[in-house]
Symmetry: C2
Subunit: 405 residues, 2 copies
């Protein structure tokens, strides 16, 4: 780098996305990838834009298309969230919602309370703005509300970031009492809640899914939603809703970021959400993923017995496999890639060193049942035997490039 | 706002977009708006996505679709910019490019050297990151390279932001010698150049349009391009190219911002740029806008004689009308809105108080010739007579809401 080139201090905190680095490695044909959170191609609805396209060529409103905002507000209302369309902001994917949250709340040194483990790309996006993290350990039932209260008293965080439903990566789904208690703690302390809820519609069993935002009475909140897991992520359409006190700030930050989200995708989505087709589509999609989850569960039982603990998730796209013994999961990934199998090592999902343990995140939505069984068998064998013979000419990534995430 | 709610210091610098606030006011049917930079609906190509759509539903690369990046790199090569497809990043509109530039370069208190006047939304987007500005006065031939050198020595800026071709708002187009000299100053001082070039294809007369980036030999650069003015802004597809030293940072910041830009729009655009149709389309579009420019020129001559100086622009979408006498242009706008005519007051285009003078920015791309003549006649009359009688029930915005930009 030229010696007189001054980049912002922010860039010292920029890391690549481990997920995307690994996704690039898994582009190689034949790789069985459990790494990303990619929906299955065959789960996606057929797109038909042309009747809508020419009416949506001009610049549009920063807040989003009115029809889509109305439709989202109606869905939120049904979940118990008191938000009308005027509190809904369409974003360029849910990732943009996380970026806007960082812009809104985070100064250098601001603390964010979140789950440990939590969504990797949230850690990365908030770090860019200088966030520091206080991680709360997770059980299958969620975080401990008392630990949340304690963390708030001790750290005075800018906000709490939680994924209460089919948590990424753990698959945890907070119970009713935990949701209520967490809401109570946040209301009492006045700490804003950012609730990330991208998986809620990928549900395989009846379970508690009421957003914590629906239980809040006082404290400001932002609810982040996604269509990427249930329609077509290439459209880059997500949304957020927020309490009125935060909304005008978020709109202005959105304007400064990209003026507005692409309109064709919004128009199609507004149409699709209101169509009779949507429910059928969702049923088909969850059926497909339920089958893949069940396959992965059986494969894990066959090949990971005695090596790890896990729980079949009631929804979402991932198994979180907690290893019984200390293990370098990055090294394991390197070996696995030589055998054309990819997964996400658990480490980068932990916001700090505390509460960390060795784990793998395994996606089951993107591979068909045959490949799920093949891939899990390979991983199980590698776990059992350590380093098997290398037979592939595929150069694995160096540790440093993988550690960039 | 709840007393214990802590937002980032950044939010103290967030301002709304005056342009968008005014655009909202101009939604009222019947308003003749010279305010925004909206392309004419009839200038836009018909969109046909459906053949491409289902192949672009999945997540895509953060850098953009390979076919579009190749096509952009070829176009940049033809302009003399030495960049291959690996240096091209597709953005969610050119506005996102400006936001990424802010993320990359700007800390609280960083100085940016730019033209005075300059693009309003750039001032707003960079301010969010804490930028301070040093404005350089503009002539029809561009900035004074010696003034640039002096500003660099005095302020040690993080980068220079320039719009050398059909500058917004002034319409200035830098001459060849100025372009070369500016490049020399930047190369000698090592200050990075951010060159914003959204209007280059909207050219009515042969004139110098070689990007300054093409003249640079050493200093790092970022070139920002847009398709919004020549295709359909609702798609939200722009791009940047940069020197290799900056590119990996920009990709990572893009990943953290929204993962990638919507793929359907990219796929369509890649197809359209390579089609035989594209050149015909551009010729039709520039023909349409040339006619409107000529109409506005004649209308201004008829109604603004003795009131202002202006030069018919050789390209772009705006007249920049410099008033001969001090005038409160915000108050003028309020009066004009009562008469259903909108324009952009000049003040917000100045990054600071220095070099400021009273001016109006008038867009000619969005109104047909009849309405251009009607609207300019109204403005000319208001300029001549001061406050004419109010006859409309339309409530004008308050000064404070307009001043929010």
């Amino acid at each position: 780098m030229p010696s007189n080139l001054k980049l912002s201090r922010r860039t010292e905190r920029v890391t690549g996305s481990l997920i995307r680095d690994i996704l690039q490695l898994t582009q190689k044909p034949g790789v069985i990838s459990f790494a990303g959170g990619l929906p299955a191609e065959q789960s996606m609805p057929a797109l038909a834009f042309d009747a809508l396209a020419d009416g949506h060529r001009q610049y549009g409103p920063s807040e989003g298309e009115p029809s889509l905002r109305e439709s989202i507000a109606a869905r939120l209302g049904a979940l118990g969230i008191d938000a009308d369309a005027a509190q809904v902001l369409v974003t360029s994917g849910s990732q943009q919602g996380i970026d806007l949250v960082g812009k809104l709340f985070v100064d250098e040194g601001s603390t964010v309370v979140l789950e440990a483990p939590t969504y990797l790309a949230t850690i990365q996006a908030l770090k860019v703005y200088g966030a520091e993290f206080h991680g709360l350990p997770l059980t299958a039932d969620g975080i401990d509300p008392d630990a949340l209260r304690h963390a708030i008293m001790e750290r005075r965080p800018a906000f709490a970031y939680l994924i209460p439903t089919f948590q990424n990566p753990s698959g945890a789904c907070y119970g009713t009492e935990v949701r209520r208690e967490v809401a109570r703690v946040l209301d009492e302390t006045g700490v804003p809640l950012v609730e990330d809820d991208p998986y809620r519609d990928v549900a395989f069993e009846a379970c508690e899914r009421t957003p914590i935002c629906a239980y809040l009475k006082r404290t400001p909140w932002i609810y982040l939603g996604s269509f990427s897991k249930i329609t077509a992520p290439g459209l880059r359409i997500g949304y957020l809703a927020s309490s009125p006190v935060l909304f005008p700030w978020l709109v202005r930050l959105k304007q400064a970021s990209d003026l507005h989200t692409n309109r064709i995708g919004q128009a199609w989505l507004a149409h699709f959400l209101e169509s009779a087709e949507f429910d059928t589509h969702l049923e088909r999609l969850t059926g497909l993923y339920r089958e893949r989850r069940d396959t992965m569960q059986e494969s894990l039982q066959r090949h990971f017995g005695g090596l790890a603990h896990w729980q079949a998730p009631a929804g979402g796209l991932f198994f979180w496999v907690r290893l019984l013994h200390e293990r370098d999961t990055l090294a394991l990934l390197q070996t696995a890639l030589k055998h054309d199998v990819a997964f996400m090592p658990g480490d980068p999902f932990f916001p700090g060193a505390e509460h960390r343990y060795p784990a793998l995140r395994l996606n089951f939505s993107h591979s068909d049942p045959t490949r799920i069984e093949q891939g899990i068998a390979v991983l199980g064998q590698l776990m059992q035997t350590g380093e098997p013979e290398t037979h592939s000419g595929f150069a694995p990534p160096t540790c440093s490039s993988l550690a960039a995430g």
